[in-house]
C-alpha cells in the first residue's frame, strides 16, 4: 500500500497520535543527559554550537501553561541556591547553557550602548523576553537569564572585536573565555566592574558574597540604571531595555523568605528546574503576576488601565477599561518612532474592533508587517536577521497590548520569524526584504485564501438537497461555503444562531438574505428547539489544538454539544494554519476577556441607565465577557481543512507532517 515500509510482511509497533519527528529525539537525547546533570557537562554544552540549530527554539509538543510557573521557577532556583552550603555550579551552568543556546538574543548587542561605559545594559534579550513571553513562542525564562548575563563585559569585548559577527559565533564562545575577557575588561568603569561581579556571582561568588553584599550590589546597579533611565528617552523599546536587572532581581527577596530546605538535594532541584524550563515554555503572560504586569506596563506604548472588578477565575487574563486609550493613541500617530505606522494602524483597528475575524486580523497584521519590512533599513553595525527579529518582536508586543493575539496570528508570526531566521547570510538587504515580503504574500495566498477555496470545495460535497444547515455566529469560511453551495444550485435552508453581545450573526444573515438564501435567525437561547430542524452544523474555528479541541467564539461549545445530543453531525471548517500543537483542556487557561460593559448594557434597557450605573459600582457584582470557549473533540464529527476532510483525531498528524515542512520549526 505504501512506500514508507519496505517489508510490509512484518507488522511493526506503531506510534499513534502526536510524536515529534525523527530529528528531534536525537537532539533531545544529546541534550537530555545534560539537563539532568548539573556541573560537569557544562563545558561540553556551552562550547557546542547549539545556537544555530533550531533546537534552541524547540517547543515541546505538549505544553500546559502552568499558572505563574515563572515565579515557581525562580523560587525553585532560589531554593537551590539558598540550600547550597558549598559552591553551586548548577544554576550558573544552566544559565550559561541557556544563554548560549539562545544565541540570538544574547548576541544581539548594541555596541554604541555598551561603549557608553555606563551600564543601561541594552540587551535585546530582555526586550524579546517581554514581547515574546506575552505571546509564548519562546521560553522567556531563558531570555530573562540571558538578560542577567554579563552584558557590560561581554558587550565590550565582542563589540570591539567583531561588531557585526553573526551570532552563532558569539554564542559559541566558551564560558571560560568569556570570564577571562570579562576579567580583562573589568576596571574600565565602575558600572562595568560591578557587572562582572554580578556575572561571576552565580558561579563562584555566590557562596562567598553574603546576601547583604549581593543586595548592595544590586541596589547600586538599580540606582545607576534609574539615573540612566531618567536621562534617557522613554521610548517603548528603550524602556524595555532599561530595566533588565529587575527580572532577575525581583524574586530575590523571596529567597530570604523561603526556608532553606536542605532536605531537597540541590542536584535534583536543579535538574527539575531545568526540565521545567526546557519542557514547559511560558505560553502567556499571567496577568495576576503583579511584578511582571508592572514591568510590562513600563514599556507599553498603549496606556491600558486594568479594570478593577474582575472575576476571580480569570484574573490571569488581561482586562482593560475600554474606550479611553483610543483617542490618546490616535493623537500619538504622528510622533511615534518605534512602531511602524502600518503596524500602528492595524493595532488601532484591533483595539477599536474594526477588524474582527481571525483571518481578517491575521491578513491585516501580515500586510502591515510587509509594509514595515519594505520600509526597513538595517541600522549600521547591525545584523538584519537579529535586528529585524527584534523589530518584529516590538511590533508583536504592541499588537498584544492592543488586543491579545489569536492562535492563528501566532502561527503566522512564527512563520515570519522562521523565514527571517532562515535568510541566507550572503543575501543583500534589498534581496532579503524582497524575499521576506514575497514569503508573507505567499503565506497569505496559500495558507489563507487558497485554503479557504479548497475548504469550500470539500465542504460543499457534504451539502445535499433539502438540508437544513445550522451555523453559529459569523465565520467567513462558512459564509463562503453557503454562498457557493447556493451558487451551484443546491437547495437548502440556513439557520443562523446568534448570541449577544456581538451579534455577528446579523452580518451573515444580511449577506445571505441579499443573495437570496432561505434563512432563519435565532438566538442561542433557542438552540435546543431549533436543533431539531437542523441536519448539519457548520462551525468556524479560531484554532484547533492537538487533542482535537476546538477553540472558537464563545457559544460554539454549546451549539456543538446540543448538536451532538440530537445526533446532528458537526462540521468544523478550519484552515490548517490555525492548527496548534498545544493541548487545551478547558477554556480557562487560554481565553480572552471582552468588554464587561457589553454584557451589562442591554440596548432596550437604556432607559434604566441609572440602574446600571449602580450595578457597575457594586463590589459584589462582576461581569464576565468571555470571548472564546473550547469544544471537546468528541462533539466534532469532521474537520474540513485544506488537507481534506479529516477526523479531529488527525490534527496531530497534520501538525506533525506539515508543520516542519512548511514552517520549518
Amino acid at each position: 500500500m505504501d512506500t514508507r515500509r519496505g517489508a510490509l510482511a512484518v507488522p511493526k509497533v506503531r506510534r499513534v497520535g502526536f510524536f515529534t519527528s525523527a530529528i528531534e529525539p536525537t537532539q533531545d537525547s544529546s541534550q537530555r543527559p545534560n539537563r539532568s546533570q548539573s556541573g560537569p557537562v557544562e563545558a561540553t554544552t556551552s562550547s557546542s554550537p547549539l545556537s544555530d540549530s533550531p533546537s534552541g527554539n524547540l517547543i515541546s509538543p505538549v505544553l500546559i501553561p502552568p499558572s505563574r510557573h515563572h515565579s515557581d521557577n525562580l523560587t525553585s532556583r532560589a531554593v537551590a541556591a539558598a540550600a547550597a552550603p558549598v559552591p553551586v555550579p548548577g544554576p550558573a551552568a544552566f544559565r550559561r547553557y541557556l544563554a548560549h543556546d539562545r544565541g540570538l538574543n544574547v548576541g544581539s548587542y548594541n555596541p554604541p550602548d555598551s561603549l557608553l561605559g555606563t551600564s543601561p545594559p541594552s540587551s535585546n534579550g530582555e526586550f524579546s523576553e517581554d514581547s515574546v513571553s506575552l505571546f509564548g513562542f519562546q521560553r522567556s525564562d531563558s531570555a530573562k537569564l540571558s538578560a542577567s548575563f554579563p552584558n557590560g563585559g561581554f558587550d565590550l569585548t565582542l563589540a570591539v572585536r567583531a561588531p557585526q559577527e553573526p551570532e552563532p559565533k558569539i554564542a559559541t564562545v566558551s564560558a571560560s573565555e568569556v570570564t577571562k575577557k570579562i576579567a580583562e575588561v573589568s576596571g574600565k568603569s565602575e558600572s562595568v566592574t560591578t557587572k562582572p561581579q554580578k556575572e561571576k556571582e552565580p558561579k563562584s561568588l555566590k557562596d562567598k558574597t553574603t546576601k547583604a553584599e549581593r543586595r548592595a550590589i544590586q541596589e547600586a546597579q538599580r540606582a545607576a540604571k534609574a539615573a540612566a533611565k531618567g536621562e534617557g528617552n522613554r521610548r517603548a523599546d528603550e524602556s524595555g531595555k532599561a530595566n533588565p536587572g529587575k527580572a532577575a532581581k525581583k524574586p530575590q527577596p523571596k529567597k530570604e523568605r523561603l526556608p532553606a530546605t536542605s532536605s531537597v538535594s540541590v542536584k535534583t532541584a536543579v535538574a527539575v528546574e531545568k526540565e521545567k524550563r526546557m519542557d514547559v515554555p511560558q505560553t502567556q503572560m499571567q496577568y495576576d503576576d503583579k511584578s511582571r504586569v508592572e514591568k510590562a506596563k513600563k514599556r507599553a506604548v498603549v496606556e491600558q488601565t486594568e479594570s478593577k472588578n474582575k472575576v476571580e477565575l480569570f484574573l490571569h487574563l488581561p482586562q482593560y477599561e475600554r474606550g479611553n486609550q483610543l483617542p490618546d493613541l490616535s493623537s500619538n500617530i504622528f510622533i511615534l518612532d518605534t512602531i511602524h505606522h502600518a503596524v500602528y494602524k492595524v493595532g488601532l483597528q484591533h483595539l477599536a474592533g474594526d477588524i474582527s475575524g481571525d483571518n481578517a486580523r491575521c491578513i491585516a497584521m501580515l500586510q502591515a508587517f510587509q509594509e514595515a519590512i519594505k520600509d526597513y533599513t538595517t541600522p549600521p553595525m547591525k545584523d538584519l536577521t537579529m535586528d529585524l527579529t527584534t523589530k518584529i518582536n516590538g511590533y508583536v508586543s504592541f499588537l498584544i497590548e492592543c488586543r491579545p493575539l489569536s492562535m492563528s496570528m501566532g502561527n503566522a508570526i512564527r512563520f515570519l520569524k522562521n523565514q527571517i531566521r532562515k535568510l541566507p547570510v550572503n543575501l543583500s538587504e534589498p534581496e532579503a526584504k524582497a524575499s521576506l515580503c514575497s514569503d508573507i504574500g505567499r503565506f497569505i495566498d496559500e495558507k489563507i485564501i487558497l485554503a479557504d477555496k479548497v475548504i469550500v470545495q470539500h465542504a460543499v460535497t457534504k451539502i445535499r438537497d433539502g438540508e437544513v444547515l445550522l451555523t453559529y455566529g459569523f465565520s467567513c469560511v462558512v459564509e463562503m461555503i453557503l454562498l457557493y453551495a447556493h451558487e451551484i444550485g443546491k437547495k437548502f435552508r440556513v439557520v443562523i444562531v446568534d448570541s449577544r453581545p456581538n451579534l455577528e450573526g446579523q452580518k451573515l444573515l444580511r449577506r445571505l438574505v441579499t443573495r437570496g438564501l432561505d434563512c432563519t435567525y435565532t438566538h442561542i437561547n433557542a438552540i435546543s428547539y431549533i436543533m431539531r430542524e437542523a441536519t448539519r452544523v457548520f462551525l468556524g474555528a479560531s484554532s484547533i489544538f492537538s487533542n482535537g479541541t476546538l477553540y472558537s467564539k464563545v457559544g460554539t461549545a454549546c451549539v456543538a454539544m446540543v448538536a451532538n445530543a440530537f445526533s446532528v453531525p458537526v462540521i468544523v471548517c478550519c484552515e490548517a494554519y490555525k492548527f496548534h500543537e498545544r493541548v487545551l483542556l478547558d477554556s480557562i487557561c487560554t481565553n480572552e476577556l471582552g468588554d464587561p460593559d457589553a454584557v451589562a448594557s442591554i440596548p432596550s434597557f437604556s432607559t434604566k441607565a441609572k440602574h446600571l450605573k449602580t450595578m457597575d459600582n457594586n463590589k459584589n457584582l462582576q461581569f464576565l465577557n468571555l470571548m472564546y470557549d473550547s469544544t471537546p473533540s468528541e462533539y466534532i464529527s469532521m474537520i474540513v481543512s485544506d488537507y481534506g476532510m479529516i477526523p479531529p483525531t488527525s490534527i496531530p498528524v497534520i501538525v506533525r507532517e506539515y508543520r516542519r515542512e512548511h514552517l520549518l520549526l
Binding site: 500500500m1 505504501d2 510490509l8 469532521m638 481534506g644 476532510m645 479529516i646 483525531t649
Partner: protein, 382 residues
C-alpha cells in the same frame, strides 16, 4: 432526515406538485442496471465458494498465480489496440480468490505493460484513464475505487524522473505494480496471522457476512488448534451466513446459525465480534454489509469488542457523516411472498459504522485503532 423538521409540511406541499414519490422510487426497482455490480460479483463468488478456492487462495499467497497471468496478459498485448482494461479486469475478476481491488490492480499493471506510450507523462495519463474507466465501471465498489487510487499513488509516486531512459522508468513502474499486487495478495494471510493473538480458547465469536478475510482468520485459528465457537448471522438476503457456517462446519468448528434479528438476544454469550469491510473510510469507520452497524451498536452497548478485518487497499478517502451520505449500492431482495407495489422496499446493501463503535482494525499494516486510518491515508495521499 430533514423530514424531522417541522417545516417538512411546507416542503411536502411544495413537492406535491411534482409526480408522486412512489413512481420515482419504484422506477429504479425494475431497472436491473441500478443493481450494484459489486454485489453481483460477490454473489457470483458465493456460488463457487468452496474449500477449493481456499486452496487456490493459498496458492496465490505463494505467488504462483502472480507468474502465470502476466503471460496471459502479454498475449492480450498481441491484440494490439484492442486491449481493454475492463476485459482484463473481468478476466481477473473471475477468479474467486481475488478480491476486486486486487483484480483491478492486476488489470492496471497490465495497462502499463501493454502501453505504447513513449513518455512518462503519456503513460501516466493512460494509466489515469484506465483507472477512471475501471472506477466508472462500478461506482458502488469502494474497494475498487480505493484500490485504483492507491495503485496510482503507489506506482506514480516513485521518482521516475531519476531515470533518464523511459524504458527503465517503465520497468521500474512495472516492478512497483507487481510488488503492490503481491502485497495485496499477501494481505489476507498477514491479517490472519495478526489476529491470532486475539482469539483465545473457549471464546465465542460472532461473525456477520461472508468475508474472505474473516474466514481466513477463523481457519488459521482452527489450524492452530484453538478451541472456539462461532455464531453466524443468517445474512439476509443473500444468505452469506449460511454459506459461511457450512464452510466452518467443514473445518470442524462448532457453528450456530442465528437470525439477523437475534443478535441482541445472543450477544451476552458472545466474547467478540468479527466483521469484514467493504471499505474503511477516513474517519476510521467502516462500510460493510447491511446489519453491521446494528451489531456494532449492540456490541458497544454490551461492552463487547468489535474487530474489523480489512486489507489496506480498502482504505478509501471517503468521509460519510451519516448512513445516507454514500452512494447507495442497491440489490434485489427476495421476500418469498409477493410484496404489494405500494410498499417501498429498502434495498441498500450496506451501512456505515462510525469509528466509536469499533474496537480495532486488523489490517496488513498492523493492528490499528480507528483513528490511525486517517493517519495512514493522510501520509499516503497528501
Amino acid at each position: 432526515m430533514w423530514r424531522r423538521s417541522p417545516s417538512f409540511i411546507l416542503d411536502e406541499r411544495r413537492t406535491s406538485s411534482s409526480p408522486p414519490m412512489a413512481d420515482t422510487t419504484r422506477a429504479p426497482f425494475q431497472n436491473p442496471d441500478s443493481i450494484s455490480a459489486y454485489y453481483q460479483t460477490r454473489a457470483a463468488h458465493h456460488g463457487v465458494i468452496t474449500s477449493e478456492w481456499l486452496s487456490q487462495a493459498q496458492a496465490a499467497v505463494g505467488g504462483v498465480s502472480g507468474d502465470e497471468h502476466p503471460i496471459s496478459s502479454l498475449t492480450d498485448l498481441g491484440d494490439g489496440k484492442s486491449f481493454n482494461v475492463i476485459e482484463e479486469f473481468n478476466s481477473w475478476r473471475k477468479q474467486p480468490d481475488l478480491a476486486e481491488a486486487v483484480a483491478a490492480i492486476r488489470a492496471l499493471a497490465a495497462v502499463i505493460r501493454a502501453s505504447e506510450a513513449t513518455t512518462m507523462m503519456e503513460l501516466e495519463i493512460e494509466l489515469k484513464k484506465a483507472s477512471d474507466t475501471l472506477k466508472s465501471w462500478d461506482k458502488t465498489s469502494i474497494s475498487l475505487t480505493a484500490g485504483c487510487d492507491l495503485f496510482i499513488r503507489y506506482v506514480t509516486r516513485t521518482s521516475a524522473l531519476e531515470y533518464e531512459d523511459f524504458n527503465s522508468a517503465k520497468s521500474r513502474l512495472l516492478e512497483r505494480a507487481e510488488k503492490f499486487g503481491e502485497i495485496s495478495c499477501k494481505a489476507r494471510r498477514i491479517i490472519a496471522m495478526l489476529s491470532q493473538d486475539f482469539i483465545f480458547d473457549g471464546c465465542t465469536i460472532l461473525v456477520h457476512g461472508l468475508s474472505r478475510v474473516v474466514l481466513e482468520i477463523l481457519k488459521t485459528a482452527a489450524q492452530n488448534n484453538k478451541l472456539f465457537r462461532v455464531l453466524c448471522t443468517e445474512g439476509r438476503p443473500d444468505g452469506t451466513g449460511v454459506l459461511l457456517s457450512s464452510e466452518l462446519s467443514k473445518l470442524d468448528i462448532p457453528v450456530k446459525l442465528l437470525l439477523d434479528s437475534a443478535v441482541a438476544y445472543s450477544m451476552d454469550e458472545v466474547d467478540m465480534v468479527f466483521v469484514g469491510a467493504d471499505g474503511v473510510v477516513e474517519s476510521g469507520g467502516i462500510i460493510n454489509m447491511m446489519g453491521t452497524y446494528q451489531i456494532a451498536l449492540v456490541a458497544h452497548s454490551m461492552n463487547k469488542p468489535v474487530y474489523v478485518a480489512a486489507e489496506s487497499y480498502k482504505f478509501a478517502r471517503l468521509y460519510p457523516l451519516d448512513q445516507k451520505d454514500m452512494a447507495p449500492a442497491l440489490r434485489p431482495i427476495e421476500f418469498g411472498i409477493k410484496i404489494p407495489t405500494k410498499v417501498e422496499v429498502e434495498r441498500s446493501a450496506r451501512d456505515y459504522t462510525p469509528p466509536q463503535y469499533l474496537t480495532l482494525l486488523f489490517t496488513d499494516l498492523g493492528v490499528l485503532s480507528p483513528s490511525v486510518v486517517s493517519d495512514e491515508l493522510i501520509q499516503l495521499y497528501l
